[in-house]
């Protein structure tokens, strides 16, 4: 630190005694302004300069009741300004935690479209999509018709890390492309890293339509 200050003094001395030509100043100025990469360090040097220029007074000011009051008032008001500026922002950012999406039943097709024993991919819309959600409002599920009246709907999300599992009909397995998780047709884990059985979505039949209840992405 002292060394740096001394170096700075030396440069200042050069200026004062006129040992440095004005043209050198210009050349140096051009040199640093040419390098945009040094903008950052220039800003810092300002702070550095300020540090050198504004050493605190040798003895601190006498603390009078008036000064103490003004200092406390200023600190309190600064805190208030900070709180007004940040609390609503934090609340706004955390709003997804308090907003509970409703659960709704989404039709995915007439019962007759599904063959008994077959597992197929069905697509439906989230519970309350925002108008600008576009295709991201879509969700999929693996739907199997167990018998004439009963259906099972599996999530498409691997319980390992949420990747999309694929149903391989011939092998009767769900396979995950990310880290190689494998599930049997009933959703139980048969190989790989998944820690849990593939979750199911509520599914029902209403007026000839198969309906799936929207659910959060399962986080296990």
């Amino acid at each position: 630190m002292r060394a740096l200050a001394q170096a700075g003094e030396a440069v200042d001395q050069d200026y004062r005694t006129g040992q440095r030509a004005r043209t050198a100043v210009i050349a140096d100025t051009m040199a640093w302004s040419a390098g945009i990469s040094y903008v950052g360090s220039n800003v810092v040097s300002l702070a550095f300069r300020a540090e050198r220029g504004m050493e605190p007074a040798a003895s601190p000011p006498v603390v009078t009741p008036r000064r103490r009051f003004l200092a406390r008032l200023s600190l309190a008001l600064s805190g208030l300004i900070g709180a007004v500026a940040t609390v609503p922002v934090i609340g706004f950012l955390l709003s997804p935690l308090t907003r509970k999406a409703p659960r709704v039943w989404r039709p995915v097709g007439p019962v007759g479209d599904f063959a008994i024993g077959q597992t197929v991919n069905v697509v439906f819309e989230d519970a309350s999509p925002l108008p600008w959600a576009g295709v991201t409002a879509r969700t999929a599920a693996w739907l199997r018709r167990d018998d004439a009246e009963h259906f099972t709907a599996f999530t498409v999300h691997c319980t390992h890390l949420g990747c999309p599992v694929r149903w391989v009909a011939d092998a009767q397995l769900f396979l995950c492309p990310c880290h190689g998780g494998v599930y049997y047709s009933d959703g139980t884990v048969s190989a790989g890293p998944p820690p849990k059985t593939l979750p199911q979505y509520p599914v029902r039949v209403r007026s000839g339509q198969v309906e799936i209840q929207t659910s959060p992405i399962p986080i296990v």
């Binding site: 440069v11 697509v123 949420g162 391989v168 190989a191």
Partner: protein, 461 residues
């Protein structure tokens, strides 16, 4: 005239003199090329700010429209493809260089007294760089990005107690949707860069305050009682002005880096967009950009019972490890006297590169593109053997097992299984499964198992 304007400017603002102080401050001699990585990281960051601002003028941070705006930028906008490429390779450079910079600093123990805060602010900048890399990768709002958000949320969800809440915070709701992308955009372009700017300022201020570390010498110890004096006398004896004696290397390396980024952006171009960000398209193969590929591999290769521990405690331990050097601020700096430090740096890089290679191969992923085995591989006309070969593909065996180079690498290669297992063992394995293999008793008829055994029993020398 110009001189007078500059003199006036300097008198009123102090800018020129202040810059001169910063640029001409004495630095230790013979610092060499190992000292260029910090400034190169900064140059890469400035490049990211410039290209990022340009891209943000056309990018639409809406879950429903970002993909189309990216296609517009990549395919129609003047220089759009180039700028996307610059931003991608600039990000790659920044991640790589910040990694090298932190390794170099640790290797040379430049974090020791009085530069502990330099290290800590640098540690924060390292983490922020990774945060920028993760959020930036997601702004390429295609299918891969959508699944990366879900994978990120699922990882956060492993945390005890607060996990599900953090996952909801990341997704901005129960599912991917309209709220998800604009938040990541705000974090990527406002929140994180603002903090990065502040910390870069602090980091550079500290560099000026303490000076850059001198080259290490065997046997030299850092003693807080005498170090400052030692450093000051070193500068007085042998110090050279930072500009241009040391800075020229920063500029040469920085220019070479920028040129490399520009050439890569031009020749290789930005990563192609995958399919649209539709979470209902299940034919996806999500994987992170190269700088997180090693972590993707860690998640695939970790023993299952340790996984939650690694996902949750790993980042915390990494963060804690970054704090540690600040507490070991005395003693030898030379790496010859700190063999464990050298070993640690080599170990870290070897680990990351090894996992990266594993992630690049991703042997654990089933090969969904496997084709039926050709006759040249089957090498038989026996009907049962031919049927077994057909089932080997049709029943999904080939997704995980390879034969003569056809098929996945998830399970053992079965090209010469005859030499390892008797036919009845093969049959038992197929019906009962194995430690990491499904049991096929319910999905295969006995004659199908027999056909598969017949086929596999022909595999071998």
């Amino acid at each position: 005239m110009l001189q007078r304007v500059l003199a006036w400017l300097d008198d009123r603002s102090g800018l020129i003199t202040a810059s001169r102080h910063a640029l001409e401050h004495p630095v230790p001699p013979r610092t060499g090329w190992w000292y260029v990585f910090g400034s190169a990281t900064l140059i890469a960051f400035i490049l990211q700010v410039a290209t990022g601002i340009a891209l943000s003028t056309a990018y639409v941070p809406s879950s429903g429209q970002a993909y189309e705006s990216l296609r517009f930028i990549s395919e129609q906008a003047l220089l759009g493809r180039f700028l996307r490429g610059m931003h991608y390779f600039g990000a790659s450079a920044m991640v790589l260089l910040v990694g090298i910079h932190v390794s170099r600093t640790y290797w040379m123990a430049a974090y020791k007294f009085p530069r502990e805060l330099n290290w800590l602010t640098g540690a924060v900048l390292l983490l922020l760089t990774l945060a920028l890399a993760f959020t930036g990768q997601l702004l390429r709002w295609d299918q891969t990005a959508v699944w990366s958000v879900i994978v990120g949320a699922a990882q956060a969800g492993r945390m005890p107690i607060v996990g599900p809440e953090i996952a909801r915070f990341i997704l901005a709701g129960d599912t991917i949707g309209g709220a998800t992308l604009s938040r990541f955009f705000a974090f990527h372009v406002f929140f994180i860069p603002a903090i990065v700017f502040a910390f870069i300022g602090l980091h550079l201020l500290l560099v000026l305050r303490h000076g850059i570390s001198e080259r290490t010498r065997d046997g030299n110890r850092v003693d807080p009682a005498t170090y400052r004096e030692h450093y000051a006398s070193l500068l007085k004896r042998e110090g050279v002005p930072f500009w241009p004696d040391a800075a020229w290397r920063d500029v040469v390396f920085g220019a070479a880096m920028v040129a490399t980024i520009a050439v890569l952006a031009l020749v290789v171009g930005p990563p192609e967009l995958s399919r649209p960000p539709d979470p209902s398209i299940l034919e996806a193969y999500p994987r992170p950009d190269w700088y997180f590929l090693w972590y993707f591999a860690v998640l695939a290769l970790t023993p299952h019972h340790l996984e939650t521990f690694i996902i949750v405690a790993g980042p915390l331990l990494f963060g804690a490890a970054l704090l540690l050097p600040a507490f070991f601020n005395k003693g030898f700096r030379s790496v010859r006297q700190r063999p464990w430090a050298a070993l640690l740096v080599v170990f870290m890089w070897t680990t990351i590169v090894s996992f990266w290679v594993a992630g690049e191969r991703a042997d654990w992923s089933p090969d969904f593109a496997a084709q039926p085995l050709p006759a040249s591989v089957v090498r038989s006309t026996n009907t049962e053997v031919v049927e077994g070969a057909r089932l080997f593909h049709a029943k999904g065996c080939e997704f995980c097992h390879a034969i003569d180079g056809h098929g996945g690498k998830r399970g053992p290669d079965l090209s010469d299984v005859r030499g390892r297992m008797a036919p009845d063992q093969i049959g038992t394995r197929i019906t009962n499964g194995g430690p990491n293999m499904p049991a096929y008793a319910r999905t295969l008829a006995p004659e199908q198992v027999r056909a598969l055994v017949a086929f596999l029993s022909t595999r071998g020398p």
